[in-house]
Symmetry: C2
Subunit: 335 residues, 2 copies
């Protein structure tokens, strides 16, 4: 079933059929209707491969997601998808595990599909640098900043992680906490948002002159309930008298709260907990989670806009911050 069959069936030439199917002018109403009737009757669709070959375009946008456990991601993905649907482009989502070596393979497949642009969600620049840098299309890093990293086709849209974390720590200090532990993702790379959050914490502590022993008070964990549960245990071992914990993600905060309770302690009476991300779930927990709400929708929207601008008009890469919202919650108390 090709456009020729439709042409023969309707009694017109392929050009006219092509014009009708692409909503181009210079087709009589009569021809348009007759052709559309045949198309409807046969359920015909243009062959996308041929179409794209001829038009030298490609299959759409690819989204690379790293980390299944981040509870902020589903809503961001849905929003991205929704925005991209309006463009009529396909959206190739690659949903990879945080730890997976699948990135290479995903990059290979991604390359073969010739996407028009790439969106990265999860992790910092390392995804990009690792395998996708060779794909010469505009990219946007979501929820992480790529400022000053020297990739000129890479934009980013993120929360001001450093400043937000500073606010959190200031808040804890204002409430009288001094023995604060940090449950962070990996901190080595400050292009990683979690690294930045960690940086923000240290900044605030230093500014206020509160001593901090990274060896005891800082533990790294992956984005998972079980990992952060373990990590919280290690924090307790190293620092049994802590009064507050900053978790670099809500999912970590939830894991930490379970660990605190399993040691027979209460939140927030014995230990205060602050998360980061502001997932809807936090407000449904008991106690309601004190957290920093990232505006996932705004991040999704701006990322798609930046990407489309870069694709359509070759706009240069830029790095944007979207406002965050500190959400006080019952999981923190005054000392």
């Amino acid at each position: 079933m090709t456009i020729k069959d439709i042409a023969r069936e309707s009694g017109y030439g392929v050009t006219t059929v092509s014009r009708v199917l692409n909503n181009q002018p210079n087709v009589s109403e009569e021809a348009r209707e007759k052709i559309l009737e045949v198309v409807r009757r046969t359920g015909f669709r243009l062959n996308s491969n041929a179409k794209r070959l001829k038009q030298q375009t490609s299959s759409g946008i690819a989204v690379v997601v790293k980390g299944v456990n981040n509870m902020l991601f589903p809503s961001i993905l849905q929003r991205v998808q929704s925005r991209l649907l309006d463009t009529g482009w396909a959206c190739l989502i690659n949903y990879l595990d945080e730890s997976a070596d699948e990135v290479e393979e995903a990059a290979r497949i991604c390359t073969e599909t010739h996407p028009l642009g790439l969106l990265f969600l999860g992790g910092g620049i390392e995804n990009f640098r690792r395998s996708f840098a060779a794909i010469p299309v505009p990219c946007v890093l979501m929820t992480a900043s790529a400022r000053g990293l020297g990739f000129d086709s890479l934009s980013s849209v993120s929360t001001d992680d450093t400043y937000a974390a500073e606010c959190v720590i200031e808040h804890l200090l204002d409430l009288g906490h001094r023995r604060i532990a940090i449950l962070s993702g990996w901190t080595g790379d400050e292009s990683n948002p979690v690294g930045l959050r960690c940086r923000g914490c240290l900044n605030a502590l230093e500014r206020r002159g509160v001593p901090f022993d990274a060896g005891r008070q800082l533990v790294t964990s992956r984005f998972s309930l079980s990992d952060s549960y373990e990590a919280m245990g290690r924090l307790f071992d190293a620092m049994p008298d802590l009064t507050a914990v900053f978790a670099a993600a809500d999912v970590m905060a939830i894991g930490a709260i379970r660990a605190i309770r399993d040691r027979g302690l209460r939140v927030p009476e014995d230990v205060s907990v602050v998360g980061f991300d502001g997932v809807e779930l936090g407000a449904y927990l008991t106690p309601k989670l004190c957290t920093v709400r990232q505006d996932g929708e705004a991040i999704a929207d701006r990322s798609v806009e930046l990407l489309l601008d870069a694709i359509d008009r070759g706009t240069a890469a830029s790095h944007e911050l979207v406002p965050f919202h500190f959400t006080p919650g019952e999981s923190v108390r005054q000392l």
Copy 2:
């Protein structure tokens, strides 16, 4: 940059380059290496549109996900993705909101990309019937049964929702509960897993001779925290003396628990709550959630296997159930 450029650059003919890039025999090691060197140096990739046009193949598997809030989905998606990566096919995920009219548009785009097969996640048959039935490729419905619905290219892999719900209600009855409320998704369609869960509840109650007034004791809610919070409120209004709630999804159970607490009641002392899905999160909540654990990994694995079998070997559609696991938890108490 086309295959011709590579041929010119490497000093061989187009045919040989094509053979090398497609791992075909009858190429000398010398030619292979020389050509691969040029390919690496230039970063050349075959034009996938031209290739697929010629070979009349398509772009991969499309996954249609309906419902962002189901906490079981991310891990299933990741697993599906991981399995499909092994095949080397792309995986086009369409992440749609539960309520969205985006389905039509997604179906249109999906049709244009000529997928080799379709996976559906979320909702029952209605997704499929609505827009995708016209796409003549093998399909698998995940986490919902399509048995006996008369679509012969549609397989399904799911939990025995009816039976699992019966077990839950039996459990509640055994503990002495009699005034049990049901917080369900929409119940009209018994091809919808949530409809089946509801059916199972009613079966068990009827079998044990416990009276049930659907008008008062059954409330429908969408898969969201806020909706189930509201719905739980309505249940209380209609039946203030309920002692147990069966929520048709963990996310609903969490919304319900918040509603219960906001009325000044305790879980499980005043109201017992059972969920469904068995998301990892449940075990980190306080109280730990009593639920039915669906084996998302098994569902993902079998679904992909069924789909690939159908694509590769034309295997007929089948409908499989994967074992579930009833997880007692602290959110239920003996009366």
